[in-house]
């Protein structure tokens, strides 16, 4: 993009309209990836459903009604009711809120950590060795066992300090964030190392720009594309990890439905009511699948070598 020759008549006649930003090219390329478009539409639909769903479907997900228990699918309960007569559709919406919130927040945290460490390691040579050894070390840790251990050990103090829901939320989000930043850090570091040698960074340094300004104004905007790709994949991983923890009984407590928790609750009733485990599992899988397609499309769209072909 920086190598594009400047049109010679640029000074002669003022451009009639603002030049097309590169993000329009990215959007055009992204639009041509069918799977990514379907995935994005589906993901947005699910987000809209869990955000605005409770306004339309205002059944209390925790209200028990023992007379109506184990009801099949009907108009009054689209996905039936569970063994305590709670409306499964309302619980799915509520679960989706928590699962997606965990996914997005954990992704944000892991991205923040990964970008910070990647940029620091790439930009400041003195920190590089230490930070990259740290990254290697984290990559060598057995993550799922460690996550389980962390949840086991810190559950009680955190719930005591922040209340059950907030405490577990903080615990799970930080546990997932702390154990998933390494790939982002590696990719960002590699890109920063290459960027640092480019002329525009040299020019910025020559004009006396401070390192902090160089990083925020010149380096960060240029590493946005790998960060965005890892962001999409990060949401998917975080949702799967949270569901896995809930599925193993080490996530949110039973009163707070998440998709993984609902799936876990449905497993004992697999013989009689297979739908109860099926719907939450389907929700997790479809959301992750759509996010993965978006990530695929985004990777193609942000790759200037593919774009425009």
């Amino acid at each position: 993009m920086t190598d594009t020759p400047v049109p010679t008549n640029a000074g002669a006649s003022p451009p009639s309209q603002a030049p097309r930003s590169q993000w329009w090219d990215v959007w055009d390329q992204f639009r041509s990836h069918k799977g990514a478009m379907v995935g994005a539409a589906f993901f947005l639909a699910i987000v809209a459903l869990v955000v605005f769903g409770p306004l339309i479907w205002d059944v209390d997900p925790t209200k028990t009604n023992i007379r109506e228990r184990n009801a099949p699918m009907s108009l009054s309960a689209p996905l039936g009711t569970d063994q305590l007569g709670r409306d499964i559709f309302a619980r799915m919406i509520e679960g989706g809120r928590i699962s997606l919130a965990v996914g997005l927040t954990a992704m944000g945290l892991s991205l923040l950590l990964g970008t910070l460490i990647g940029v620091l390691a790439g930009y400041f040579r003195r920190l590089d060795g230490v930070l990259m050894r740290l990254t290697d070390l984290f990559l060598a840790l057995p993550l799922l066992p460690l996550l389980l251990v962390m949840v086991l050990l810190f559950r009680e103090p955190l719930t005591a300090a922040f209340g059950i829901e907030t405490g577990i939320f903080i615990l799970i989000v930080s546990a997932i964030g702390v154990t998933s930043w390494m790939q982002t850090a590696r990719i960002v570091r590699g890109d920063v190392l290459a960027l640092k040698e480019r002329e525009f960074v040299l020019a910025a340094r020559a004009t006396g720009t401070t390192p902090a300004k160089i990083i925020t104004r010149h380096v960060l905007p240029n590493v946005m594309s790998p960060i965005m790709v890892s962001a999409t994949l990060g949401i998917a991983t975080a949702i799967i990890t949270e569901s896995a923890l809930s599925f193993l009984g080490l996530g949110f407590p039973p009163d707070f439905p998440t998709w993984g928790r609902l799936l876990n609750d449905g497993v004992p009733y697999l013989q009689q009511y297979p739908g109860r485990a099926f719907w939450p599992g389907l929700a997790i899988s479809l959301v992750v699948l759509s996010i993965n397609y978006v990530g695929d499309g985004l990777r193609d769209a942000l790759d200037p070598r593919i774009r425009g072909r």
Partner: protein
């Protein structure tokens, strides 16, 4: 190459020690008391004695050192004794589980065969499926087979094992009743029928695990084949009149396998971690299940040892992958 291997092996020692320290400190600094479940009627002195009996009496650094000694010296001695009938480790204190007061490694040795059978078979099945699928999809890029394959791998990649496991149980165990949904570990294979039963009960967990591994591997295989198919040496091979079969299966495949082999090596330890969930779904009482029950029972020595074993596996297979890469690809020079 040899110096590189030795250097990496030496570097692995501080890495492992540091990981051991991290795991130890995580468990140590976490709040929670192993005596919390003891009734309040038990006097304080007795509780103190119970703590000492659990090995909690000494300062932290001494306990860490003792655990390291037990893990790296006494337990290997015990393995040696068991193999050769010697008695070097007699009277030395082993790592003791808090759950049943038996050595941790005896429990692990009981659980390893199940995990190895199920997970190992799944890995082999996955490799056998993924490699041909990857080769063919890359060779016929954008064909119907490739599109379908890409879609299936994307699905396999996205569907978590706790859902695919539940799904196959609903379909094949509950509805069709073809396979049992629970893995029977006490089953002894002593006849043809028993063998068939073993195959049937392994089928579902192996398929669930294999689907996951296949999707990752075949994506790698396809990408690697695509890279190599565009190289100049492929055109040269075709130009000198080699058969298409020889070009693809000898020239391209051998070069494409280099990154795939390292990915296979890197995936081995994560399989043990990933199998935790599959083992839980199908009630296979392997290592993953041992870890879950130990976590639920607050059995810290067991958790510590198992987590560290996973870490050792990760470090060793990383090393193996690097060395393999150097051996297989003469363009890579570490020295």
């Amino acid at each position: 190459m040899l110096t590189f291997t030795i250097r990496r092996l030496l570097f692995a020692i501080p890495t492992l020690l540091f990981i051991a320290l991290v795991i130890f400190l995580l468990l140590e600094l976490a709040p929670g008391d192993p005596m919390a479940n003891v009734p309040l009627t038990v006097p304080a002195e007795v509780k103190e004695q119970m703590r000492i009996a659990l090995g909690l009496g000494e300062p932290m650094h001494i306990r860490f050192w003792k655990w390291i000694i037990q893990f790296f010296w006494i337990e290997p001695l015990n393995v040696f004794d068991a193999l050769f009938g010697t008695s070097f480790a007699e009277g030395k204190l082993r790592i003791i589980s808090w759950q049943n007061r038996a050595p941790v490694f005896i429990a692990i040795a009981e659980r390893i065969p199940q995990t190895l059978w199920v997970v190992g078979t799944a890995y082999v099945v996955a490799i056998l499926i993924a490699v041909p699928v990857g080769i063919y999809s890359a060779y016929k890029q954008y064909s119907v087979f490739d599109q379908a394959g890409t879609f299936v791998t994307m699905v396999g990649f996205s569907v978590p094992p706790f859902f695919s496991g539940v799904l196959v149980i609903i379909i094949f165990a509950v509805q069709l009743k073809w396979f049992p949904s629970i893995y029977d570990t006490t089953h002894v294979v002593n006849s043809w029928d028993a063998f068939l039963f073993q195959v049937r009960q392994m089928f579902l967990p192996v398929m669930v695990l294999a689907l996951q591994i296949t999707s990752q591997l075949s994506r790698f295989m396809r990408a690697s084949m695509l890279d190599n198919l565009q190289q100049d040496y492929v055109r040269t091979a075709r130009a000198k009149g080699l058969k298409e079969r020889a070009v693809v299966l000898v020239h391209v495949l051998r070069n494409s396998m280099i990154p795939v082999v390292t990915v296979i090596a890197l995936g081995v330890p994560s399989i043990f971690g990933g199998a935790i969930i599959t083992e839980q779904v199908f009630k296979v009482n392997g290592i993953g299940q041992l870890l879950i029950t130990a976590i639920q029972a607050n059995d810290l020595p067991m958790v510590q040892t198992l987590t560290f074993i996973f870490a050792v596996l990760i470090v060793l297979f990383n090393l193996l992958a690097d060395v393999l890469y150097g051996i297989l690809d003469p363009r890579i020079r570490y020295d």
